[in-house]
Each structure stands twice: as C-alpha cells, then as structure tokens.
Amino acid sequence: MPLEPYDTAYHAENSIKHLSYHAYLQKVTPKSSASASSTASLPPLSQLSYKVKVPCPSGAHSTWPAGICTACQPSAITLQSQPFRMVDHVEIASFDVIDRFLQGWRKTGLQRFGWLIGRYEPYDKVPMGVKAVVEAIHEPPQEGEVDGLSLVLPWEDEPRIKALTKDFSPPLQIVGYVFTDLEAIPEDRTKSRYKRHTQSFFLSSLEVIFAAHVQNAHPILSKSSPTGLFASRMVTAVLTGTVDGGIDMSAYQVSEQACAMVAADMIEASLEPGIMRVKEEDRSEDTARYVPDVFFRYKNEYGLDVQKSAKPCFPVEYLLVNVTHGFPQNPSPLFRSTAFPVENRFDESQDVQSMLRMLSDLRAPDVQESTYGGDPTSRIALARWLSDWHLISFLGTTQLMSPEDVQVLVRTATSPKLDDSTVLDALIRTDGWQTLMTFARETAPARPTSAAPSGPTHAAMDEDIPQDIYDQMAREQAQSGGGNSRRIGDVEVEVADN
C-alpha cells in the first residue's frame, strides 16, 4: 500500500531528519473530511506564542505586568526537536554564485554576509519536499571583521531589492541568508579551521537568535493557520571550514519554539556558543517579561530519559533544524556572468563610469537589433554580460533606465537562450538602453583601432603622436573614469566632457 508522506519508517531509512512542511500539514490535518465535525474545518496549524496574553481572556485581573493568571500566562515549554521543517534543501544554482561571494572573504580576510536570492521549487528526494534554489547572493552594506560582522541596519535597499526580485520570471525572493565563518589556519593559510563540529557547536546561540528574528520577519502565508501566517522559509547558511581545511556550506533553520521564544524575548545568547541562556523574569513596567518554565529532555549518564529545567541555560541543539544543501548536477543558473563588481564591497566599487566603460569595451553601442545584422559574437558576449544580478540591481540605482526598461532588461538577462540573436532586440529598442549607449559611446576614448585618431570627441595635437601615447591616454582615462584635460608628457589632450 502506498506510504503516507509522513511515514516515519521511510524517513528513518533515508535519514531524513524532519518531515517536510506539506507532509507535516497532511499529518496534522484530520482526515475525516466526510464527517462535518467542527475540528475538520479548523485550521490545524497554529502559530506558537509564548507571550502573555494581554488583556487576559478571563478579564479577572489587571493586565500584565500588574497581574497574571493561568489563563493569560504562557504554558510551560518543553523544548523538543521540531518534527517538520519548512525548507528541506538548499540548492545553489552554480558554483560561481558561492565563489563570487567567497571572493569578498578571500580578498580581505573579513567575514561576509549576503542575502540569498532565489525561488522555491519542489524537491523530490523528500516526500512533498521544498527546496530553495539560490540564484544570486546580494550583499548588503556591512562591516566585516576577522571574527564577526555587523550589518548596517536598517537595510535601506530592501524594498527596492524585494520589488526587483518580483519582476523576474519566475519571480525571485529572498530565501535566506549566508555568512562566512572562516579562519585561516596559521600554519597553512590555504586551509580553514574546522570550527563547527560535533565537539563544539553548529550554530551559535547568537546566530540562532539572529535567525529567529529573520524568520519572525518573514512568515509565509498559509491557509492552515488561523492567523494566515505560519513559520518561515528563511534559511540560514554558514560557510565554514571542513575537517580537511576546505570550505563547505551548512544550512539550518531554527524551530518554531525558538522563534516564539525570541518573539517573547525570553532567551539570549551566551559566550559559550553551544549554550543558550534563558533570561530572567522581569516585572518592571517597561521591560516586563514573563518567562515560563522551560524544560528539555535528555538521556543522562545512566541512559534514562530525564527532564531538566532549561533555566539558566540549555544546549542550543534543541532549537535547530537541519537543512540539506547541494549543487545541481547540471547547473543551469539564471545569471551567467560574473564580470560586474559586487555591491557594498570594500575593494570593488560599482559606478556608472566603469559600467559604461565595460559596455564600450564590449562594443555595446555597435550592437544593433538582429534585423540590422551586426557582429554575432559581440552580441552574444553582451547578452551574456548582461545576465548578472549585481548589474541589474545596480542599474536600478543609477536611474539611467526607467523601471519598465529594467523589467525588459530583466527578462532579457534571464532568458534561457542567450545565444539567440533575437534575445537582445527588445532591450535595444528601449529608450533606456539607447540612453545608455549614448553615454557609452561618449565615454569611449576612441582608440585608433581602425580609424585615424581624428574622432569627433578627440582633439589630437600632432599627426605623429605615437601609438603608445594613445594607449597610455586610454589607460589614464580609464583610471580616472573620464573627465577633462589630461597632461601626458607635453601633450595636452582634451577629451569631451560627459
């Protein structure tokens, strides 16, 4: 007989630690739909809340923090491993995505943070599973340190990025975040220290609280919950060292209990990464906090299952949910270019001039619509170069292209066949693109590749200025990013201002 999607034996066999969300939903939904019992029509899921109910349902006493009763206080919590998880697998579309993110760490030695941008798809290895496919990593403004990082909050660009992701087809969204926790071993600087293992910790208490905040901020819509919201699909990914010194990713989510506890402000991080502290009860007016009894069960040294109070601290593992991760066998990433510099990086900068210069390097102004012919290789190269999340996101900030044009660009850049000659046509026809091309043309230092150095934007002094002077000028201009007069030796060259 066919197995239920939440069959425990199957899961144990295939070492699937948690049910997928939909399987869990099926499990808790009462099956008897024939009988019109009231319980069948109730939404089965419920959002956990460990806050004191204000005002008290019984209404018999003044509200918290003045008074409390069993009706409004949260019940005792028994920490247990969450049976289900919202996301079962994280798939990175291609190695380039992670590699580019790691460049930030490689160049500076400081830890980096990035928001994962992708979409959700069904995952077939787990019954009714959900996987998050990560297409790009967007790095927000942050300050990295050797042993930590600080995000610049609030992230002002967030609404714009979120709106931009929706323009894609299929629409993308922020599916989680990733950060590096890499430390090079002093003896062999190519290897990273194996920091997170069974004897130390997997996700520190601080990171669990951070994840809980993020998960609380991004709940999913669900019909099966009375509030219409439930849990969250945000994934926490860590890039850390392996036993052999390589770099590998681990992905986690935190359990609903953790999210509820953080929402009720009951727990705090500790200096010992594998331990979570429980805050103390507080009945002052402003920072009132009610902390119910928290227990957790474990097997003590005699092999007995005992329950212990989680106050003042408890191991963090009770709050974690494992998520598998992997790379596809045949990567077909949405974004195929890695040329454009990444935003908010210390040593790379995105600016219009360099972008225009790159465009002119690609001979973008010369690429016309396919009907007018033109060089197919440069067309393909340009199409490929445009397929870059960071470029698209940057163009949005420059306001060189209107939002509609950006949408056209988005569609172009993410089209599956970039070799097709017609793929750029729609883009070229947009006004925004034409504006860009005009700028690009003017930025180009009109190198005398084929024609004599008497272009309209270039006032040559002498006929016999040698070639290398021109190259030098081009380089100088490229360095300064366009602009006014240049003095090279005794030759004063004037270049048209943009």
Binding site: E145, D147, G148, S150, L153, D181, L206, S270, L271, P312
Partner: protein
C-alpha cells in the same frame, strides 16, 4: 727543471732570476732585495705634522731611502713589508707617501703604530714586497657610528685612495667629516698576507659593525577583532543562579589560594623544618609548611576549606554550575570569535580489540613456587589462578620494616588503601624493578612528603 717561460736566448738571463719568485718582472732586483732598519715614529713627530697623514696606508721615509730605491731600480709601485723587530709577528704592508723624514727614521700613521705595537722610536724592519692585486676585502667597522654614513662606499673609495695595501687583521683608520672610523680588515682575497689596492677594482663587503644589534622589528599589531571592539570577554562567567546572594558565594568559593604560610606570632616561622627520621630509618628533612601546599579541592567539590570563606545559599546546593555570561550584541551583529576546543578526531578502534595485558609476567605464590601469569584473555581457569597469584604475589623483593634499603613502602595516597589503612600491593605486571637510590642521592631525597608511588616489586 727550470721553468723557462721567456723562451730561449736572452731569456736565459732572466731564468737566473726566476728563482727569486715571480715571472712577470722584466728587470730589476726582486722587491725583497731592499731591506733596511729604521726607527719608527708616528707622524705626530714630524716637524710640520699633518693630521691627515694618520689616515693613510702609507709611510714617510727619509730621502736616503729614496736614493736607495732608485739605485736599486725597484719596480714601482713600491710596497713595503713593515715588521716590528722585537715582535716579528706584528707586520703589515704599506706604501710610501713622501721622503721627507729625518735620516734613520720613518713616520707611520697612528694605526700602523698600533698594529705593529710600536712605541715611538722602536726599531722597525722594512722590506720591499710584491703584493698581489686585491679582488675582494671584507671590512668590519669598529663602531656603529659607521652606519650613519649615507654612502659608505663612496667614503671608502676616497679613503682607500691613500692606501696602497691592506693587510688581513689590520685595523685601519680613516677620517670622514672629522670623525675617525676604525675598520677591521677581516678577510682579503686573494688571501694570505696583504693585497695591493692600487689601481684595482676592489670588491668591498661589510660585516655588521661591532656592537650592532639587529633592530627589533615592531610586531604588526593584530588586526582589530570584534571581540576587542565590543569588549567581549570570552572567559567571563556568571553564577549559576540568578539570586544575588549566590554571586557572593561564587566569588568566595572560587577565589584563589591564599599563601599557605602559617605564621606564628607574625613571623614567617615555619614548622616542620629540620631533620627527622621515618619509621623505617630513612632520614628525612622537612621542607617546611610552605613547601607543601594544602591540596586544593577542585572547584566544584563539596570539601569545605576552613581558611576560605564559604557562603552557601540554597541555590548553591542545587546547582553549582557556572553559566557562561550573556553575549548582548544588538541584532545585526554576528560574532564568531568564540573559544572553541580544537577538533579531536575519534580514536581509531583497534581492529583486533587487543586487551591490555594485565597480569602478564611471572609471579610467585606465597609458597614460593614460580608462577607464570598469562594475560587476562586466558581461560577462566587461568584467571582464577591469576587472581590467586596476584593477590598473593608479594614477590621476593619485599623488605621487612626497619631494614635500610630501597624506598620504604610509603603509602601511595589515592590508590589501594585497604581496610585500616594497610597498604595493598598493586601488582604492576611487568614493571622494571626500581633501583634503590644510591647513597649519594639521598641528600636530595629527604622528605616524607614525596607522593611518589612505591613499587612493591612483584617479580
């Protein structure tokens, strides 16, 4: 067989001179032919002394020497070997600067006087010499002031223009900017006696000057970590309980050791010093109270020490767990710099599952029969034999109380204390027999306080 590099004919004349050494000389007597004795004076004794003469590598000779040299038709450049008559080991090579000295006297630069260990007016023997052209010389400045010169090579070039020869082991003196620098000629190539430095391309190598200390490179400051910026103290802990009174309990119970010196009447008079004798006759010397400190109980033990204050609260009795301190970092900051124990890979399990060989070795029954003890993995019968043997095998190496020999059977404290405190022998399968300490070592061995385990020989 005579070497005849000049060919036949008129060269034969020169062949006679070939024996005098050196074949390039085309005419004139060998340099060594000139020899004379003078009285050596420093250049300060010149009627019109010039200080710069002190910093050259050349001497001032009388005009008669000039006459002699020209008559002899000695090859120029004229190089001389100067030797101290009384101390013929002290010698150096030099050229000649001028011939304005008084008769019978030569004037030497001050450093040359020093090198030759000459006093004013001492006799000196001067012999002509032929020196090979120098290729390389290694100099060592005698003071670190030399390092202050911006262009030492140029300075040396200038100075060495006034030198005709350099001798290995000399300390020459040069002057620059009215500072005198001493330079030790450490090595010369070609080695040997001296080298000529006239018209040569001399390679100069500098050794670190005397008294030069490698400057300490300031260590690069460690990059600022988040821990330092946010003042995260990775080792701080908070008391297990939230009760305020218990925090006091923790600090007191966890405080460090006080000095164990027991003072009597305010003095540092320590008891248990002086000689003593153990029951077995071993002489011991007390090391005093302060030598052996009171054994510290581990942090979480229930032992109460009376010299430390100990405040107990009910929470302490419940749980003496110390909880790691909170890490209060605002949202948006992540910290990774925790103290993490390094990863210890799980030990490989032995494939065969060898069991430790306890009870291996020979033993004796009380009756004196020799018993060979097999390893623990033997049959039950063997085991019972073993157990019988092990408990009874005192071995032949035991000592009666009172006899003077190897270590007395001092109680080894934590292990094996039987009922009433009688020592129970712990059979050490195949341990080597400990030699009795030689008499000479017993001086340092005094001290009943030794906690060493005693091996009761169980042969």
């Amino acid at each position: 067989m005579d070497m005849n590099p000049f060919g036949v004919g008129p060269a034969n004349l020169f062949a006679q001179f070939a024996g005098y050494g050196g074949g390039h000389r085309m005419g004139g007597p060998p340099a060594r032919a000139y020899q004379d004795y003078f009285k050596a004076y420093s250049v300060a004794m010149l009627p019109r002394t010039r200080d710069n003469l002190n910093y050259v590598g050349q001497i001032i000779m009388p005009p008669s020497a000039l006459a002699n040299l020209t008559t002899m038709e000695l090859e120029s450049p004229w190089m001389f070997k100067l030797q101290n008559v009384t101390n013929s080991a002290a010698s150096t090579y030099a050229g000649v600067l001028e011939f304005i000295a008084e008769e019978g006297c030569v004037h030497l630069p001050q450093w040359m006087m020093k090198t030759l260990r000459l006093d004013e007016g001492d006799p000196i023997r001067i012999t002509g010499a032929e020196l090979p052209k120098g290729k390389m010389v290694k100099l060592q400045a005698q003071s670190t002031v030399f390092l202050e010169i911006s262009d030492p090579k140029a300075v040396l070039e200038q100075a060495l223009r006034h030198f005709s020869a350099l001798t290995q082991g000399d300390i020459i003196e040069i002057s620059y900017n009215s500072i005198v620098f001493g330079l030790l000629v450490m090595e010369t190539h070609p080695g040997g006696e001296g080298i000529s430095v006239l018209n040569t391309d001399l390679e100069v190598d500098f050794a670190p000057p005397v008294g030069y200390v490698e400057p300490e490179r300031p260590k690069a400051a460690p990059p600022p970590t988040m821990a330092s910026k946010l003042n995260i103290d990775l080792n701080s802990q908070t008391p297990g309980s939230s009760r305020p009174s218990s925090s006091l309990g923790e600090t007191f119970a966890g405080s460090g050791t006080r000095g164990a010196a027991v003072s009597k009447g305010g003095d540092h008079w320590e008891s248990f010093k002086g000689k003593g004798e153990t029951l077995s006759g071993r002489k011991t010397k007390g090391k005093g109270v302060s030598h052996r400190k009171v054994e510290e109980a581990p942090q979480d033990s229930k032992i109460i020490r009376t010299d430390k204050q100990h405040i107990i609260t009910s929470d302490d009795l419940d749980s003496e767990v110390s909880v790691p301190a909170p890490l209060n970092i605002p949202f948006g900051k992540l910290f990774f710099g925790f103290n993490i124990p390094p990863y210890v890979p799980p030990k490989e399990k032995d494939v065969d599952g060898e069991q430790p060989h306890i009870f291996a070795g020979t033993g004796n029954l009380l009756s004196g029969k020799l018993q060979s003890q097999s390893s623990s993995s033997s049959t039950a019968k063997g085991k019972s034999k073993e157990t019988a043997a092990s408990t009874a095998s005192w071995g032949s190496g035991g000592q009666a109380l009172g006899s003077r020999s190897s270590r007395p059977p001092v109680l080894s404290a934590p292990q094996a204390v039987g009922a009433g405190g009688a020592p129970v022998p712990v059979p050490r399968g195949s341990t080597a027999q400990k030699q009795p300490p030689p008499e000479s070592d017993s001086e340092s061995d005094w001290g009943v306080d030794d906690d060493e385990d005693v091996v009761i020989d169980s042969d």
